[in-house]
Symmetry: C2
């Protein structure tokens, strides 16, 4: 198993990428190709001990910044870590590509370089989230902010295959995110998508609401990339806000501080459950290759888990399953 990792992607690059890569090498024995500024990476790497036969370094002289426009930067920065890394995957020199960098640029580079699977019109980012009853997937969380109903059907079919073979859910339920459960509610886009999903072979359970997501009402939650992106960022923000407010409240009382110390085991267990980094990265569904997108603020553990997710996609040959499922339509 050989994974290409954009070493310049995250907010704390290349430190967290290097630590995550070394953890993955030690824990899983995979090979990792780090792509980025050679001097910077070498200097950082010198601080660690690792199996050098498993870690390769490929130089990329440019970097696409977070704020840069996606399509333009991919076309102009041919020597960026994203473009160079994606090319390695394209040339079959690796099994998967991972980046915690500019999401739009990764989606664009993957689409241009790897091309789309037959029958897919637009790629979608799928993210695994923890729920009260296990885990669910949300597609799309930002690749396609103005999709057509057909795109959401395609996301549903791809997520169905992913759920079956990676999350081991035999007959995953599919819900369409809406402002109400009734078929008559929603925008024209939602009503058309509802009709397409109803006529499909998916295990479609109808419209679901924002409150159903973390209740785990559906295994797969379909929405446009604008709404999906807002959901992710708002969810993270609510959790951060609660933690900050709680810390302030607790600091203001000695008894509460003592209590919080005793209750801390519960907080640790909870944090693990709510922790996105446990799932590492979001697969970009629909491109002809394995591409995992990680959060800009990823920890080394998140990068390590993204590498695990990428390896699972290869082992289970998810794209072959997706193509089979698409052909059956």
């Amino acid at each position: 198993m050989k994974i290409v990792l954009d070493a310049m992607g995250s907010d704390s690059a290349p430190k967290v990428e290097i630590e995550g890569a070394i953890q993955a090498i030690q824990e899983y024995g995979y090979e990792v190709i780090l792509v980025g500024d050679e001097a910077v990476i070498k200097s950082e790497l010198s601080k660690y001990k690792y199996d050098s036969t498993k870690l390769t370094l490929i130089h990329a002289s440019e970097k696409i910044e977070m704020h840069e426009p996606a399509a333009l930067s991919v076309r102009r920065k041919r020597h960026s870590s994203i473009v160079v890394g994606m090319d390695l995957l394209k040339k079959n020199q690796a099994d998967a590509f991972i980046s915690a960098g500019n999401t739009g640029a990764v989606v664009c580079a993957a689409t241009l370089s790897l091309r789309l699977l037959p029958g897919i019109e637009r790629p979608g980012i799928a993210i695994v989230i923890p729920t009260l009853v296990g885990v669910s997937m949300i597609v799309d969380v930002g690749a396609n902010i103005d999709p057509k109903p057909m795109h959401l059907l395609q996301y549903g079919i791809m997520a169905d295959a992913y759920c079956r073979y990676i999350l081991h859910k035999p007959n995953p339920t599919v819900g369409l995110l809406n402002v109400g459960e009734e078929d008559t509610k929603g925008t024209d886009f939602i009503k058309e998508t509802h009709m397409l999903l109803s006529e499909s072979k998916l295990n479609f359970i109808g419209n679901i609401e924002g409150r159903d997501i973390y209740a785990g009402t559906a295994d797969i939650v379909l929405c446009d990339g604008f709404v999906g992106n807002v959901i992710l960022k708002v969810s993270e923000s609510v959790i951060d806000t609660i933690v900050k407010l709680l810390k302030n409240e607790i600091k203001s009382s000695i008894i509460a501080t003592l209590g919080a110390a005793l209750a801390s085991s519960a907080f640790v267990a909870l944090k693990k459950k709510m922790d996105y980094s446990e799932y590492g990265g979001a697969p970009l569904l629909g491109v002809d290759g394995r591409c995992i997108i990680s959060h800009g603020s990823s920890s080394p553990k998140a990068i390590k888990n993204a590498i695990r997710v990428a390896a699972e996609a290869k082992e289970q040959d998810v794209n072959k399953r997706i193509v089979e499922e698409l052909e059956s339509y």
Copy 2:
């Protein structure tokens, strides 16, 4: 001050409405007109002691259920508590109308009966949320799921007046919710709205992201009603999920249970801060009358606070301020 309260609206109607009304009468001395099924309300009222000179009962033989289509049910159910209550406001027999019932039906009845303020094309629901640094408003959270850019500008102008006179923020900042901060990001709808807001007299700070909402980056967050509705429901769901997971974790350990008991003061303080019921209800901005929409799962305290919010809108004459601000454009 005389407030019309839909007694049949909430999930636990008319119990919570009656308790909330009695609390408001006792605490603020306002008069409340309860509208709904006379027999049911009388039977429930008989359990309480209250100042009967302050509480009137108006019979409404029908009820619009939560799942009923908004426009159709308002036209067909002329004797419903929502339509009858709104008519009382229209006829100047009260200062404001409050309902925790079918939101779409309340918006529709208010628009048909009260009509819109001059210069306003669509009403919008504004909700006050707690943030790390105080409170902010989100408009729209569900009245208008497929708005035009001009509608969001109108929401901004109305929310600006509301913030100045009710929330006492002298120069409120306005943010446009988007998937990124850059001007070039977002759908055509977002880009057009961004241009309108940039050219306006509002204190527009540009695009903001989902994570900025609870950080309090903007005093006013503008978004379409679909996205706003999802934000509200997802936020509530994240909080509920955290509380449930934490309870499960804590139950599984004696030390953690003891700790949680000691830390409970912090939880209570936190809950108060995060508690939507402290803010009671969401004003429906843009209709020519005072209309407050409460959550279907409102507590008596939330109803009491909705009555307070309605009274403040009357005292500060928010609609007059809105019209003045619109005329200055």
